[in-house]
Subunit: 153 residues, 3 copies
Amino acid sequence: MTSVADRLKELGIDLPPVPQPLAIYRPAVRTRDLVYVSGQLPTVDGKILTPGRLGVDVTVEQAKAAARVAAINALAAANTLLGSLEGCRVIRTVGMVACAPEFVDHPAVVNGASELLRDVFGEEHGIGVRLAYGIASLPLNSPVEVELLLEVD
Amino acid sequence: MTSVADRLKELGIDLPPVPQPLAIYRPAVRTRDLVYVSGQLPTVDGKILTPGRLGVDVTVEQAKAAARVAAINALAAANTLLGSLEGCRVIRTVGMVACAPEFVDHPAVVNGASELLRDVFGEEHGIGVRLAYGIASLPLNSPVEVELLLEVD
Amino acid sequence: MTSVADRLKELGIDLPPVPQPLAIYRPAVRTRDLVYVSGQLPTVDGKILTPGRLGVDVTVEQAKAAARVAAINALAAANTLLGSLEGCRVIRTVGMVACAPEFVDHPAVVNGASELLRDVFGEEHGIGVRLAYGIASLPLNSPVEVELLLEVD
């Protein structure tokens, strides 16, 4: 069986340092065999990738790439807490998309996170339940925020 | 004690086939005795019932009926995973309402889901915690999305 | 070790009666060692503190104070269910902010809830994961809604 570490290597992903919390919260918390991860923004070196809103000034492709980065940040948070991502299973992902009211293509955006999680954990453990919806705005004018709930072996 | 199957029959509800995922996710996932269900839309035969937004082009009564359909779809997803809904308890429901900023009658809309769940599982097991709030937009221009968390006996 | 009751006394907080549910839900529900609390509004004696939206007619300071009140209401709901808050740990907080699309200072608003929870439960048990985001509108024209998930000892 391919390990998560191997898959990350194949994908060329080096988990970044956990993004500095913007306020009073922890990046990730474990209770029994569940790991809750804070809502993650698509930050690279502390800056939001393509700030703005869908249907206004950010494209679906840009936001999809941003959702992938936010998911990588979520994995970094879980990895820092657990020491490793081996044996984890994706239970639930929430993808919030900052957008104009006319925008309705949220699933395509949130797939940026879902494809990444599937590629990292595999079909069996990398696909959980999901919510995708469009909201008014996000911290730092981010186009997406991704929340993750993992089960630990 | 009345079974869930009996109550569904009394209510005239035939659980529909699980709505086809719009993207990379599972309709429902179990971890220990919790069943997470993906955010469900009010689809009937693959089409959104009364697309649009509250305070714009969808009425409270229409959206309440849509929330009921979304909740039925959520039960269908859980039922397909579990094989039966007997012994389930409703822990948490989230009702997201696509609306204009002036719309503030979210509880009346989300009651469409809550009344259905109460009627299916009974007062003791069918009423959990709830969130109701108004968002910018939803996939497929849906007026509501319903998320469900169940506990299994 | 300081008890939660002592900290509440030091902070001058008398947990209010649980806000009357606006609809069909319970204020709080326990499953195993997790306590889910319904989305709470900043109600005092049944009235919303500073109704309105951020970036329109409510300031960050007002909304931060409102988030604190919503968090107190969430604690009241958990306390009524459990009989006591001793031994609880904050797992997850969601802070939803009703706002104009241009508003991006959600973390400062939601800190009103997070600071309160940290002060009540202490640094070790009072800081969990968090989501903060901006939505179109909330029930009763509330500027904030706070959801809380606690772990019980």
